[in-house]
């Protein structure tokens, strides 16, 4: 039984490494060759993992062969547009200027119901609200609403706003993230002064400290009373 356990561990590590090295595309946006790769790898690993009469290499070699193919396809589709169009297809305009493109529906094997379902998923409940809808190569539908139906933005309303800033997690679970602190432009002295201001002795008492948009949100751990403090941070560093 230990052999089966050990084989499963080796195959798990191999599949994990192969999927990790293939890039994050597998997890978020699957192109057809990514989908084939992901489906087959899991299946190939399961057979030698559960049957000790089958040599490990019977699983390892096909997995590595698929990894090679997937990497080659990804590289070629990155370098050559023609190749990309063959393996991934092209984005298809399903609705243009509010008109459903019947031929595009037919070519994509979409019914009007399928289109409506996808539109509802994008919060567009009426076709007449949509200016453009494009079926992307990964199967996602991108929707552009008519001007009158689009969400009002600060820019559209001519309201002056501050530039958005990336949030910095300075402390997490009592541990100061030195590199994040450095990137935020502050130092440890400044941080401990803020902690004292918030009534905390040191970083060990802090569950998290998040710096964002000129404010630092500090929350103490449960044993330190779970107190949450939000401090305004002077913009001049």
């Amino acid at each position: 039984m230990f052999i089966l356990f050990f084989r499963a561990v080796i195959l798990y590590l191999l599949v994990f490494a192969v999927i990790r090295l293939s890039g994050k595309r597998e997890l978020t946006d699957l192109q057809p060759f990514d989908l084939v790769f992901t489906l087959l790898v899991a299946d190939l690993a399961s057979v030698p993992a559960s049957d000790s009469a089958i040599p490990m290499l019977y699983g390892v070699v096909p997995i590595l062969a698929l990894f090679l193919l997937q990497q080659a396809f990804a590289y070629l589709s990155l370098k050559f547009e023609g190749f990309r169009h063959v393996v991934c297809g092209r984005p298809v305009v399903m609705i243009a200027k509010g008109i459903v493109q019947e031929r595009a529906l037919r070519e994509s094997r979409y019914t009007v119901n399928d289109l409506m379902e996808q539109l509802r998923g994008k919060d567009a409940f009426e076709i007449s609200d949509v200016e453009y809808a494009i079926l992307e190569t990964n199967g996602e539908l991108s929707v552009m609403l008519r001007a009158g139906k689009q969400t009002l933005t600060f820019e559209g309303a001519s309201v002056p706003v501050q530039d958005a800033e990336i949030p910095y997690m300075l402390i997490q679970d009592g541990k100061v993230h030195d590199d994040v602190l450095r990137k935020s432009g502050y130092d440890k002295r400044w941080l401990s002064a803020r902690l004292k201001e918030a009534g905390m002795k040191d970083a060990g008492e802090v569950l998290f400290a998040l710096l964002c948009s000129g404010r630092i949100h500090i929350q103490a751990k449960e044993r330190a009373g779970s107190k949450a403090v939000i401090l305004e941070v002077c913009k001049s560093k």
């Binding site: 090295l21 890039g23 009469a53 089958i54 040599p55 019977y58 070699v61 590595l64």
Partner: protein, 132 residues
């Protein structure tokens, strides 16, 4: 420790290429080496039996068994274990039979060893029937 995944991916790609090329060449050659020696010794055992030389037959069978046992574990890394177990069984029973002097049964077992070895050889052959 920071890992550059782009570089790691390129490196793993080339390691995979090398590993696959080696896996196409090394296991097949190793297997063919073992099966050729097994078939040769089995045939020599057969000839010795035909000439009524039990001592030479036992010597060849022991050499055959030694050859198989020395390579069995490595071959298990890339070859179906059931077939190897079957071969091991046939070799062990042949050894018993040659010691007991049961020539007729031994010839049957030797033929079995030769047919298993020939089949093992064909598994690594690059031909349409294996691809299909």
């Amino acid at each position: 420790m920071k890992i550059d995944f782009h570089k790691a991916s390129i490196l793993s790609f080339w390691i995979t290429v090398v590993f696959l090329i080696l896996s196409f060449i090394v296991p097949g050659n190793y297997l063919r080496g073992m099966t050729a020696a097994v078939i040769d010794e089995a045939e020599q055992t057969h000839d010795a039996l035909m000439q009524g030389d039990a001592e030479a037959a036992l010597e060849h069978m022991q050499r055959l068994s030694g050859e198989f046992n020395s390579k069995k574990d490595k071959i298990k890394l890339f070859f179906n274990h059931q077939e190897l177990d079957e071969m091991e069984q046939a070799i062990n029973s042949s050894l018993d039979l040659v010691k007991m002097g049961q020539g007729d049964n031994l010839i049957c077992e030797l033929n079995r060893i030769i047919s298993i070895a020939k089949h093992m050889e064909t598994v690594e052959n690059w031909d349409l029937s294996n691809i299909a």
